[in-house]
Symmetry: C2
């Protein structure tokens, strides 16, 4: 039966990197007779420009109907100053995550041996790094009510947001993390601020309860400030980390940057049935947009994740990952991962190389 | 006129490191006829053990009466499982900060040239690092109401906290940061999550308004996830950073760890009149408590900060900092900053060396 993949190029470098990833997907679609139907829609700033809103109805409908979604990136200075907070590119992204219930965000931080030099950390600290951060993506302070800016007594402006999780939300993301740890090195570190925030006291409690169902997984807890330190001090101590939406946003970016090659890192956002949205960990990089400079590999690797997790096609996923490794072995590098002695290539040339390797 | 200094040893390594810092303070008190009266009180786990609460009335009264406070550290596994969330060591610390209005937290992240090797980052990335993080300390999600864990429909547990700032709180910490930047390299980076959280949209707005009063300071804004990345990628791009309580907790610890020698970093928490509490950036390290292993230098440097900021005694502050630099030049190192070829010393030996240098 044919499956639908919705492609959302988004803003900044989004269209360029997604174009290369789409070529890769179309190729394996042919090679393996996957019967995938690809369509495209607007989201983020691109949708604001065309339709006045970051998540048009037709995009949301298409996203609901799709079996998997490939996203580039959203956002840029052009829309940052929009006084209406609802008309920002990010609201498009958050709207899809929330409407589709994509609560399980998997963010691997892996150091490619070929790119070991790219890290700002000493080689012995990061060589062989392989962390998986599991971030809750549809709850927490990102979506908590009430929220806003109001005038209180004396015409004083006050801004407020609500950090809230119920035990079901915590258990649901906890299971994703325990399962992931079970399939890896069986060590799960849950990150909270249980010495200050009540919502994370409950988080810790539920993780403890859940750990009884996973006696083979070693559960530990760490305060978020310490986790940020430990990622810098000794990142290889971690196998899988699980945390809420806001802490996960911060820690997954820090962890990704440890590798020095955030242009290489894909991510998945999954619903309860394994349907998912796939996107690179990096942002829309408006400063280099439209210049054929961006690294398309994180988006191409997101295609591999998509094939494996949402489309039940592990074989082409393996081949794509091998092809990426091969182009690195060929010393091809976009500017972000380039170093002395390597061959600098453009976005499209990198896409060509992966296609050739496939 | 005589001034009062309250000493709060706290938990874990607190008593050991504070003992050395106290010796240093007593020495310069004599040398410079500062007429300081020192007293001691219990806080944190030590206060729970003795009085059943982390912040006894008499400690709070003494803190209010003092001109400056020197704190070791609080917390430890012994009290972490206390089911009553109010009876935790951290509540003692938070109680003092809040009751005394110590809203302005200054956390320098400085790389000592003698300890450049201690960093996990490559020397070229961190050499000469000198960042000041200004963290709001008495508001935000740490103190926001409502908060708690409740049962909602269907007996489902739900945890919630409130992230709230009004414009006065933001302006107050903003001024501290702008003033600090003015006295340094005149660059201030305000960290928020204004693409998602309304409370930080107001934060950004107020910082912009305030910047009109400081035309000589260059203000920039950065999202917190990007700030965590940039601290790893290129920390020397920053001069002064300002942010709220929770983001400041995370980023200041990450920044401190960039130096690899968190055992060297003091901090100050100031009220509107410059009265303050001074403490090392590191925690209570229960694993090495009572073994004469801890590094007392961050606490000794906190004494220097205290003399300078709250006691109007810049000369002995300079001398203490010079003495610390001198013992490093003598190659004396506690275990946390020790490396091949250096002389390993205990907590008390390090204290002796600083005293001798003074
Ligand atoms: C663009 C932004 C809303 C988003 C987030 O904060 O979740 C991004 O930083 C991410 O991590 O995917
Ligand atoms: C002990 C804890 C409550 C405290 C905080 O989170 O503020 C500590 O981490 C700090 O940064 O001083």
């Amino acid at each position: 039966m044919s499956k639908n993949v919705l492609v959302l190029p988004g803003d900044g470098i989004g269209p360029e990197i997604v174009a290369q990833a789409r070529r890769v997907l179309e190729l394996v679609n042919q090679q393996d007779n996957l019967d995938l139907q690809l369509s495209e829609a607007l989201v983020g700033g691109a949708a604001i420009d065309a339709h006045g809103v970051p998540l048009p109805e037709e995009t949301l409908d298409a996203a609901r109907a799709a079996d998997a979604i490939l996203l580039g990136a959203v956002g840029g200075p052009k829309w940052d100053t929009n006084p209406d907070f609802q008309i920002r590119p990010e609201k498009g992204l958050l709207g899809i995550r929330s409407s589709l219930g994509l609560f399980g965000n998997l963010r691997p931080a892996i150091l490619y041996p070929q790119l070991a030099h790219a890290s700002t950390l000493k080689p012995e600290v990061v060589s062989g790094l392989d962390i998986l951060i599991v971030r809750e993506l549809t709850g927490g302070i990102y979506f908590g009510q009430p929220r806003g800016v109001r005038l209180k007594e004396g015409n004083v402006r006050e801004g407020y947001n609500t950090y809230v999780y119920d035990e079901n939300e915590i258990r649901r993301i906890g299971r994703v993390a325990f399962e992931a740890a079970r399939a890896r090195d069986k060590r799960l570190c849950s990150v909270d601020k249980a010495n200050v925030l009540e919502v994370t006291v409950l988080w810790r409690e539920v993780m403890e309860e859940l750990s009884k169902e996973y006696p083979d997984v070693e559960l530990s807890h760490m305060y978020v400030d310490n986790a940020a330190m430990q990622l810098v001090r000794a990142p290889k101590q971690f196998d899988v980390m699980v945390t809420g939406n806001m802490f996960g946003d911060i820690l997954s970016d820090a962890a990704a940057m440890l590798t020095g090659s955030i242009g290489m890192l894909p991510s998945a956002s999954l619903d309860v049935d394994g349907k998912g949205m796939y996107e690179p960990c990096h942002g829309s990089a408006p400063d280099i947009a439209g210049q054929n400079l961006a690294n398309p590999l994180a988006t191409i690797l997101s295609v591999a994740m998509m094939l494996r997790y949402s489309l039940g096609a592990g074989a082409p996923a393996d081949r794509i990952e091998a092809a990426v490794s091969q182009v690195l072995d060929q010393n091809l590098r976009t500017g972000d991962i380039w170093s002395e002695g390597m061959q600098k290539v453009s976005t499209t040339e990198m896409g060509d190389a992966v296609i050739a390797a496939l």
